[in-house]
Subunit: 296 residues, 2 copies
């Protein structure tokens, strides 16, 4: 997997450069703290798995590098906005993220709320701009699918469920649904974005969605495992949180061993949906393996 780690890091570096390019601090303006906070959040690193999904799926369809990277950056901005808002005191009240103080700790709550709002807005601005794809129909489709994935029926709805899960213990179908909404939909649309950019036929999009669906669940189960088994320094955020909050997770529902087996099974299943792409989909296959083997 060391070649794959290099590929992931290389893509992360390219996406980070594009992100930095979109967020330029104007020292002359008093509101520059907002752009600084936005940069703090998106340039803090992270594995950039969603951007990798965008560029790897775009790589199946001869999409231009610039289209893929702009779309990847927009998706990452949306992911980062969700982290900033989820970390707020009124939500998960987290003080550590990727080994650094969270946005509202580094700046303040108001700035964190507004930096999240501005990142979400910027993502749609980037996608709507002609530089992202020459065909405006493609740009509209990206925007509509992304908005559905992260709105009330997707990520934001999932976060409401997650907050409710602190009040009562969810069962397995409910936890599955929560995770599909909270993390699965954005992972799915990241993967589908390449197919949208490449104007791929529906059958092909379906295969990518199926891959992403299994991958997303595997990813989440490993997240739950890391919360139990990982240590704070490696994972870069507070661990043991789910148990402390009394939250049902795949680990509390299945046990550690079965949860790990299930994640591995899902990763294999994910890879099987990629057969139609032959070896062109190797980056996506490697990602599925990476997701279950990761230690942070």
């Amino acid at each position: 997997m060391s070649n794959f780690s290099d590929a992931l890091a290389e893509n992360a570096e390219a996406v980070t450069q594009v992100l930095g390019h979109f967020l330029v601090v104007d020292d002359e303006t008093p509101e520059k703290s907002l752009t600084e906070a936005m940069r703090y959040v998106v340039l803090a690193g992270g594995k950039r798995i969603r951007p990798f999904l965008v560029t790897a799926s775009a790589g199946l369809f001869n999409v231009s590098e610039s289209s893929a990277l702009r779309t990847a950056a927009a998706v990452e901005m949306v992911h980062c906005y969700s982290l900033v808002h989820d970390d707020l005191p009124a939500m998960d009240n987290d003080e550590l993220r990727r080994g650094q103080p969270t946005c509202h700790i580094k700046y303040d709550e108001a700035t964190a709320i507004l930096a999240g709002d501005a990142l979400l807005t910027k993502a749609f601005e980037i996608l709507a701009n002609p530089a992202t794809h020459p065909d405006p129909k493609v740009r509209c489709e990206l925007i509509e699918e992304l908005a559905k994935a992260v709105g009330e029926e997707g990520m934001v709805g999932g976060q409401i469920l997650d907050l409710l899960s602190k009040q009562r213990t969810l069962d397995k179908p409910e936890v599955t649904r929560l995770q599909r909404m909270k993390t699965g939909e954005l992972i799915a649309v990241s993967c589908e974005a390449g197919a949208i950019l490449g104007k791929a036929p529906e059958a092909v999009r379906h295969a990518l969605r199926a891959y992403a669906h299994d991958l997303g669940l595997a990813f989440q189960i490993v997240d739950d495992l890391l919360d139990v088994e990982g240590n704070e320094t490696d994972v870069g955020k507070k661990t043991g949180k789910d148990k402390a909050a009394g939250k049902a997770t795949f680990v509390s529902l299945l046990g550690i061993e079965h949860a790990r087996e299930r994640a591995e099974m899902l990763a294999e299943q994910a890879a099987r949906h990629l057969e139609i792409f032959e070896e062109k989909a190797d980056p996506l296959r490697n990602l599925a393996q990476f997701v279950v083997e990761r230690r942070s």
Copy 2:
């Protein structure tokens, strides 16, 4: 002006219906509280001035009613999201809005943050959908212009400036810039939206922007006057806030009398930009007059 008040109320009713149609509570789902909060916020009333600007400007260019109303609803969702986030304890900490408890008082802070996020997201979803306009280039332009108007260089940046204004007294150019960003840009894009939907030439768009620019400033000055002169029951929100917060406003900088004169002058100036549209622009002229005469 009574005919105009009727026209404003009729348009508000049509927009409210469309807003309600976009936000359907699914009683079967545990996350329904999110949609309920979104409905609470957007159906709470208000004068719907921004949606009126969209439909009145669309009326200059033979735009279909459905295109205009969908765009108006999207703009109003963005306006409502901004109110919900601005009212949060970490921001302006307001408990009353349009005579009702603010979203975080009625629900809770987490729900208010997420309802705002979901409204912003939904607005872009609506604009990207083919039902809003048959030409995807038009839809992308609406999205890009709206995103610019409400992002870091527009509304969100303006809110950061507004928070900074509690720390030090701004001078007149700074207050003007703050208001242009915080409220002016969304008013301008509401007005320009009709021209975008109608594929109007640049000279015409320019005239509408100039109208909206003056209108937005007049609107804000009257807001500042109502904060000083109005009573809470009429205005529907807490008054006397600016002075209590030590914030510089047009009223504190110009005095009540000069502020009112300035608002009236701006409204007249706004109307003068509409000459090229002849009597077709009467609704926009009436709005300019209404904005300075309003008592809430």
